[in-house]
Symmetry: C2
Subunit: 427 residues, 2 copies
């Protein structure tokens, strides 16, 4: 296909006419499709329905060690669920606390505790003059919203296919004591789908933070969320690497079953060094008597072990793959060679990230909306909602059916083309 | 029975010998009983087991308004569960947010938000010089632990049978802008079992706080937790009274089903003015995408409505009543007239509060422990764990069987007598 950039004004004008006709045509269809959030689709939810049968009035409600899951106790989670989550997070059981239904909530609480009480004996962050947080971009809007709310100055760190720009990360972390943390989605990153290289993980572990209360927030949200059996990303174990590098307390790892069992009714967990886990438990004991142990038991009885989890995730992959491929194939077929956008084909996770020509993202999202296709707001993948180049768009293919996803992808490329042509004509 | 205080030294010494013999005898029994925490007993847990059958793989998982409870959404809780909790809390549905499994967690988060961000536009408490919190005593140790952790200076307010000493409350709240809140368990109070009089509630509503960010933390934990059909305490509706008094935003009400369905696997809720609820939701939206809606649905499908809840609580009352009566009857029979202790016979709730002679509580608890009967630590019912008179002991009769409760009560009165005799002999 011919690059738009190489087209003459006349060619672009002819193309524009064509695209506008297609646009009017599409508008007439009165579509209503949503690719805004990483919500599992109906057939994914159905996969977990049998989980609702494994605990009934006939069940033995005790854990292996004899805790009655119906009563108070076990602030750190029931043993077998800690084991399950530990295996999923590739850490030891003692390094894990299983909490409630939301890993985002654990991340928020971790920041909130650091703010009010300080990190393990350090000065409370609310008493410190200046707070900064590193934000690999594009990234997850809900991460950024937490650090924004607590008043951190957020610093954009470019994310490439190997992970964040580690020269820049080292520069900030090792020299500026106001830098207290960094948000990471190390595997099948939200939204670009990339996974951190071994070198990136090793460089993270080898950081020499200027701030004693600097921590890596390692949101391993998509740790077992593969799209392919034969193409699975692997990342190094950050907790082990930090230990080896003499920084055992520098990382918090987060994960949940929100996109394995049910969003909102899954279990979430945090993993860290024993020292960090001890300190968290001490603080957590003021906040709650304990989390929902019956739901923890329900998860263990259903999935049984890490093999059960992986088998289950294969079924999710089978459902998600065609939806992702509908998007990627359409992008390749319709936009390949046009030089008006770029994207990465991910091996897992929940998103496809699209970079348009600079200055076009907002308009593309607006045009899609006019045609009934809702995307994540442009800019959402950057701190403060501000994409400096206005080019990144997050596509969430999980919720629509494959057919709807195909339709939505076609609408999307139409809008990308139309906005690009307008943009080039105005340039 | 003859008052110990009127006994001669010789009489006391003879009594001491007798009690010591009984003590040695009891020690030989090797008991292991726990009256430390307000944990429901096994037969109470059994009552809720059928709740585990109402949601299965065959269930329609949608709310009345069509939300799929298995997916993300409904940060404020599903409508029908908000209705259920609203009816239980005697407020309107729109004034309620249904959260996760723990009302303590909601209280903690409410304090934490006030600390980090301020109360609805006021200065964050972490930026203020001095913070104070009023603590009616004896009270709930987990309340006190929250405000202690956030650095509030806690001020003891004596609690009588009508509620807190309102002269003192008014004096503090209306004059000292450092006073930011007060912990209240207005009905079947933890641990004294008393309920606030109408006058107390009206005086609360009529407060004229010196601090704009003063709030009443109204932990209505035992709102429908009656022991008797024919003797049920009623308290005035604090939200309505605050509205009438021109203080609509002054109170947060908390409640949960922890002692209705399952501790740890119930649902918890907060109720307040629409302005407060709006603000809380805005802040909560940074913390989580939503709470466990499937468990909310499970509760609604099982209890159906407030009548279902009340019917269920009658069964709890039937189970708890003999345990409470075993304690109170034993106290009356063994200690009546001796002038070495006082207590209130409650109409509901989870506790019986016992006041020994000043300076005896710690020793009584220690002696009971030696005989295998674990009580809540003496002092726990006061801020900082410091009972200035060392006299209050909280008895939690719910967990043991009625027979064990009888045995434990007998051990308790034996220790009360023995410590009192020693105390009087040393005086």
């Amino acid at each position: 296909m011919k690059s738009y950039k190489s087209m003459s004004k006349e060619e672009l004008q002819a193309l524009k006419k064509e695209l506008e006709a297609a646009y009017v045509d599409a508008k007439g269809k009165g579509l209503s499709l949503n690719m805004a959030r990483g919500k599992p689709g109906l057939s994914q939810l159905e996969l977990a329905m049998p989980m609702l049968d494994v605990i009934s009035s006939e069940s033995d409600m005790h854990t292996i060690l004899g805790t009655d899951t119906r009563n108070y106790g076990d602030l750190d989670g029931i043993g077998e669920c800690r084991r399950l989550m530990a295996d999923m997070m590739e850490v030891e059981k003692d390094n894990v606390i299983v909490c409630g239904n939301s890993s985002l909530n654990i991340m928020y609480d971790t920041i909130a505790r650091s703010y009010a009480f300080g990190v393990a004996g350090q000065e409370p962050m609310c008493k410190q003059e200046k707070l900064k947080f590193l934000c690999p971009v594009p990234g997850y809007d809900r991460h950024f919203r937490i650090t924004e709310e607590f008043g951190f100055e957020m610093i954009n760190i470019p994310l490439s296919e190997d992970g964040p720009d580690m020269d820049m990360v080292e520069q900030y972390v090792n020299n500026d004591p106001a830098v207290k943390g960094i948000w990471c989605v190390p595997k099948y990153s939200n939204p670009t789908g990339i996974s951190y290289s071994d070198e990136t993980v090793k460089r993270f572990a080898a950081l020499k933070p200027a701030a004693k209360d600097f921590r890596i927030f390692w949101d391993n949200a998509y740790c077992i969320h593969h799209l392919y059996d034969d193409k699975q990303d692997k990342i190094l174990n950050i907790l082990e690497e930090c230990e080896k590098a003499g920084n055992p307390d520098m990382v918090y790892i987060f994960a949940s079953t929100s996109k394995i069992s049910f969003p909102g009714s899954g279990v979430a967990a945090v993993a860290s060094s024993l020292a960090n886990i001890d300190w968290m438990l001490k603080k957590m004991g003021t906040q709650t008597i304990g989390h929902d142990k019956i739901n923890q038991l329900r998860h263990v009885r259903f999935f049984k072990d890490i093999n059960g989890l992986n088998e289950h995730m294969k079924k999710h992959g089978d459902i998600l793959r065609p939806k992702f491929e509908a998007v990627v194939d359409t992008l390749e077929k319709e936009l390949g060679g046009l030089e008006i956008g770029s994207w990465v084909k991910p091996n897992g996770g929940y998103f496809i990230s699209f970079d348009s020509l600079p200055g076009c993202a907002k308009e593309i999202v607006a045009k899609c909306k006019e045609l009934g296709v809702v995307l994540t707001g442009a800019g959402a993948t950057y701190p403060y909602g501000k994409d400096p180049e206005d080019k990144n768009i997050r596509i969430a293919p999980s919720f629509p059916t494959p057919e709807d996803m195909q339709t939505a992808a076609e609408i999307f490329v139409l809008c990308v083309k139309l906005v690009a042509v307008n943009h080039l004509l105005e340039a």
